[in-house]
Symmetry: D3
Subunit: 141 residues, 6 copies
């Protein structure tokens, strides 16, 4: 019987953003997005949890080397988001509203291939915007 | 392809309760519920996580406005439980033993309709009684 | 040179209480204590940090055996407060309003002698009522 | 309709270990396991979450008495792992590399029968090695 | 003997900022402030702890009503910083570099008078920028 | 008036150790140190908080560049303790019993000079062995 386990790595990034729809007035933006629409930005300490799924190797006991997992997350996600403006500085978020929902989906798409190439399967992205609000994405399932 | 995400909001309440079966003696209550049966009550800082499931709106990037979600949770749950006695003060817990299991189920039933009316689906209730004990409820699934 | 260090032990208790002045009307109690005056009680998971001060023993490297410290805190404080009603069940809180300030002071007085008898000095009591509110007491200094 | 809930109990243990394959050179061990291969061991404060699944009893409101659950986890797992060396001191880890993945699987196998004998079902083991790395196991599913 | 206690209230704000010296080149800014100098801003979830010092009132058991303390902190600090840009939107930070050190000092100066007017004494400001970096200020002592 | 602030940096290390006095029997070691005397070691995730004291620079707003502080802590402490055995692998702990008290003192002595050379003053070492036990050292004061 194969023994599937789920392994999670936590990383962090600090970023500025605002929720703002260009085609709307400042008033309509405020009515919809509240204080998140502040024109001069605000920001967060984001906590990111990436979960992969696999079977432990009989010799190493690892599904995947966590150093490799951390490298993928850092090069494909953290280096691009940390100390950046999510609305202005990030290639893979261009044209996407920076809600936690959308950022979580975009992070999934950014790392899915690299992780699956390691013989594991990307299982979940969990993204905390604050201690009170977080989003989980399982590839659309 | 629709991209389902899961969005969680954390709220808190502080309440008194005891675990006590009226038809039993004090001794049998103590044997069953231990120190949770203290006749003069005890209490907890409860942490409540409500998870909804939906697809982000193409314009706002939201599954559901978190301010609306927070309003539902507060008016239907927190306002009724916070700084209250779970055994004596809460209409929707009448006749229900205030175990964490039962309180989690009752919270689900209290908010399910209002959340589904917002075009999302209630997915999970997670209720911490202490940092060491918590319960999850997925509508019976 | 003697090398003074400060050693802290964390313990926990869950208790019911209310803030209520007998000589006042229900209205005046509510005006003063807000929802903390709910007649049927509410409760908290209290986190208690006890800090002692001393010089590490040259052989053990301990200021004081933490098992002894924990025993004192448990027998003199936790056993009397945990799963109790702070207003009704606790000998050393009789006649004292159960504000976090007063409970912290009373805990200090409850354990000071026993700790000092171990060759250390009680330095601080830190008592969390919620994650947002806590009190520190240094023996009145 | 039966109302299935998931109940989780958190316990902790502190243990030493190293990741080391006997048939490999020190260099190959270091190349594979990095600083986790330090010959003189290192260690962790492990956080263990055990989740069971069941239907609350109509009288007690419990799926399973948490004191019973805690007793099983302590006698079968914590007493054997706490303040021990995972590679040397633990009968049920003999011949198993002490990766978090493998320890989580072994803990499942160690308690599954006892929990199921209580009329509940073991649902998940979640094991934190550090705040940044954790593993979940659902019996191979 | 008067029994001085220290009471702390935690509040939170989410803000954007950058560390940037106008008279320096982008390169010199980067050399000095590293990634904190990103021209398009970054941001944080700040945790703010305000500690006051006083003697509990013999009737209420309070040093100061925490609702009053919270009102002062919110009207004088949080409302002005939350979901704002610390470099652009805040009157009491004008002309001040938004290092955690300087923001902590400015918060002290913003609330000292109001708190002392309540018969207590402001004792400490503790400001977390991230879980790894925080600053304490005791009025210059 | 100079405005002294206290700046804290958190770092982490995972290490093995045991509490053991060579000149004592296994029984006497167990009687004194309890399960911490397990001959095959145990270990912890240690959390280290280093606090410095200084006046913010009028241009940068920093007491001390946190990157420099982090570099000192990492090169002088973390690199030597992380994934090591505190009793066997660490030059600056040789001949010292690895109680949290003693390790905290030794860390102070290891970094005091380097920090003071940066124009700040080392103020405190806070070292967590577990979430329930920690030690603070202020240079012997």
């Amino acid at each position: 019987m194969s023994k599937t386990v789920y392994v999670t790595r936590k990383e962090r990034f600090n970023a500025a953003h605002k929720l703002w729809h260009e085609e709307w007035s400042e008033q309509k933006n405020f009515d919809t997005f509240g204080k998140c629409s502040n024109p001069n930005w605000h920001g967060h300490n984001y906590d990111l949890f990436v979960t992969i799924k696999g079977v432990p190797d009989p010799i190493t006991g690892f599904c995947m080397d966590l150093k490799d997992l951390s490298k993928i997350i850092n090069s494909k996600v953290i280096d691009k988001l940390d100390h950046k403006n999510l609305n202005m500085d990030v290639d893979f978020l261009e044209g996407i509203k920076s809600s936690t929902e959308n950022v979580a989906i975009a992070i999934w798409e950014q790392i899915e291939q690299d992780i699956n190439a390691c013989g594991c399967q990307l299982h979940a992205i969990k993204l905390y915007e604050t201690e009170n609000n977080f989003v989980e994405y399982y590839g659309g399932k």
